[in-house]
Symmetry: C2
Subunit: 461 residues, 2 copies
């Protein structure tokens, strides 16, 4: 696009949005970054629409003037999916934060895309329901952003991912049409599954403006525990055995010894510095008691020791907060650093081998690196605390990340379990889906022939 | 296509497949129909490929000579998705019935598309696993066909649909490329979700040749019961209350009084002729005992009487066989008839109202009609036993079906919960997704520009 086009687009956007449209440098700069080391171009401006109609009008203006758009939620992603590209408008969904509908009988809720998961869960408690939205990526991300990223997190082993918990989306297409992808029915066989096509599309096919989610009953009882193991292999084999025996796990997280050391220091815990599993059980009091007991027996068979129960809610929350803060704890190992996080997922039978190969690889480098994972799903991360702007360290981390992806792909795994592609995993996606990526590109070209919807993300065209 | 093209295509197919290619009239006729009243054209021939490569070669021959292809599984669908169109080749996946891989640790299996669900479950028992594939549409359908239809059935309330239980597909595209849509990882955020784009695409985007499925542990204990209610409303409110209270149901099926009468007659049961719920509970012995007891209490609050438990496996199987045979039982009300089955799904809060409106509508007609449903999902069917080839009766059933769809759509529901679109619901789909259907058509045109993959199904282009 040329300057003439840009100026016309900015004038029209200004008329449409007034003071909910800005070219302020600090605000533009905030929309050039996410939670990672990735940095984008400064967006030409940032828009803060209030409604589906305003989003549609914005898209029409951008389409007319060939100005790219980048949807922006809470900026908690880590693969650069929401950072601006050259000449792009950043469209923040922040103002679209209304909870539109909650049905207790249907156990569903419809929210605007900017509503965060904690806001929804607080609301569900405030209005007296016994329901919650269980998908939990750690960060208090927006539900639209979570849908766009196909997010999951610690609770996916029990409750599934955004893919499993979304009934319907409102989407603004590349031509500015407002469209519904599904219905409020719990299931449907009506035509192509556009809901799941847009989930994980990272804003490249359209902008998600509303999300209808399945809700789940709050568990009657919750129990949490940590348990240290002699080796990571023992910890992983414990998880495999628990799953094979049908023991219901609400969360099952692995932290390696360095990550435990980091967590101890950051959160003031006093856990053993060893490969450790964090457990959480949900259910009736009786079911939780049974599962906890069974888990203890299985863990001890695999050398699990110091099985430490958090029975009080405060202690349980403190323990899990320590887990949630793992990323910051890892960065705290090198004060002033920013984390580079990898993300692969393999069949669980391959997990111990994949982690062993990854650890062996990390030992060949001089990088500080912690390892943690949602092991019930076969999903794990390596966190490299990097000096910001140290290109050499970033290049080393990228190189190691590429090799970890190769290890996972060799084991029938995927290059990303939950962080998405953004700009950081484009090469990895092309490797994983060498036979399907052209079909993905064809879909992108069909739905967005002008390539204005978050161009350059997922793949370069 | 012209006769010249057809002849060339048939010659090439004959060279490729030898005696696994036929123009026999009886075989062609069998591939012009499914389990419903729908009748297609006679396919020009029927091919029985053995491998992905052969399917790819068939597609290439068809693409070259512009011959349409219709994939055919077990023919147990009811909306005409697999019946042939004019000049089409029917591609039976019957020979592709190998179970390729089972992993107990990963709880997954990879099968060729022609493997039926009972064959897989028998195999899983034979090799000594305690796993099963839980999606259960009643008929012993092929797993490729179930994926293509986005099938579900009686167990979806507990275990989900094909959408929730499929990890990966092998697909032959319209250009004859063999492609994988996913991996064996339990979750992935790697690019567009092609797995779920092909699930429910009814052969219009490509031919599914292999399916990787999530498996589930067999329950330790199973309990079943039937319970009659004064009104359908009471039965539906019982289900809503059970779900709100988090009582785990493995199956929960509603049969109206006429359907119960039909079932009694057909299966030699002696149940009360009243709106009835069929219950099944899965879990540990203790969990099943608790859920069963709790369900009994809730049911009695809603006027449920004659709570009849089937504790012996033989009795339980007999009871559920009676439920599975409901379609045949309904047809048996008019000997020699064939069933016309409707299929809508609404949010469960709307289910009682939707059923009441449907029953009121049926009372305005002179048609025999039974009603039954997977009420835990808000999904129900009306079965009209019709005189075969009675165009007047078919027209009446179609007209009533259209009105039932309108009732469901008015309540934020869908025109099909599980049977798909085929040719029977094309108009309904256009009504339900008036704003999204053009996008679906665009995807079809992009993936199959020659319109050779099951043309005329889902929509006319």
């Amino acid at each position: 696009m040329n300057q003439h086009d840009t100026n016309h687009a900015l004038q029209s956007l200004n008329s449409l949005l007034g003071n909910r449209f800005t070219t302020d440098d600090a605000i533009r700069d905030a929309h050039a970054r996410d939670a990672s080391y990735h940095r984008g171009a400064l967006p030409v401006a940032v828009a803060f629409p209030n409604s589906n109609t305003e989003v549609a009008e914005i898209v029409k203006i951008c389409a007319k003037h060939r100005m790219p758009l980048v949807p922006y939620g809470t900026g908690t992603g880590v693969e650069g999916a929401v950072i601006a590209s050259e000449g792009a408008l950043s469209v923040s969904l922040k103002n679209m934060d209304s909870i539109l509908h909650v049905s207790e009988s249907d156990r569903d809720a419809t929210v605007q895309a900017g509503v965060t998961r904690l806001k929804l869960n607080t609301h569900l408690a405030d209005i007296g329901t016994k329901l919650h939205f269980p998908v939990d990526p750690g960060a208090d991300a927006s539900l639209g952003g979570m849908a766009a990223t196909r997010a999951s997190g610690t609770s996916a082993v029990a409750y599934g991912t955004m893919q499993d918990n979304t009934l319907n989306l409102t989407v603004v297409t590349a031509t500015g049409k407002i469209m519904h992808t599904g219905s409020r029915a719990r299931k449907s066989a009506a035509g192509y599954d556009l809901t799941r096509l847009f989930i994980g599309s990272e804003g490249t096919l359209g902008i998600i403006t509303e999300v209808t989610l399945k809700l789940t009953r709050l568990p009657e009882a919750v129990a949490a525990a940590v348990c240290a193991f002699p080796t990571i292999n023992d910890a992983v084999n414990t998880v495999i055995s628990l799953l094979e025996n049908g023991i219901r796990l609400a969360r099952i997280e692995l932290l390696d010894e360095l990550q435990m050391d980091a967590v101890n220091k950051y959160a003031g815990l006093n856990c053993k510095v060893a490969p450790t599993l964090f457990f959480e059980f949900h259910g009736s009091s009786q079911a939780v008691a049974e599962s906890s007991k069974a888990a203890g027996v299985v863990a001890s068979k695999h050398g699990g020791a110091d099985f430490h129960w958090a029975t009080e809610e405060a202690e349980r929350k403190r323990l899990w907060q320590a887990r949630y803060d793992s990323y910051y704890a890892a960065c705290n190992l090198r004060p002033g650093s920013v984390g580079y996080v990898t993300d692969v997922c393999v069949p669980i039978s391959q997990l111990a081998k994949c982690i062993a190969k990854t650890k062996a690889l990390l030992e060949t480098s001089d990088m500080v690196a912690t390892l943690l994972g949602h092991v019930g799903d076969g999903n794990f991360h390596v966190v490299f605390p990097l000096e910001p702007n140290n290109r050499d360290e970033i290049a080393k981390a990228q190189n190691l990340s590429r090799q970890i992806v190769d290890i996972a792909l060799d084991m029938n795994g995927t290059c990303t379990g939950e962080h998405g592609i953004g700009i950081g995993k484009r090469e990895a996606l092309a490797k994983e889906h060498s036979d399907a990526i052209n079909l993905m590109r064809d879909i992108k070209n069909t739905l967005d022939p002008g390539n204005i919807m978050n161009p350059g993300k997922i793949f370069n065209l």
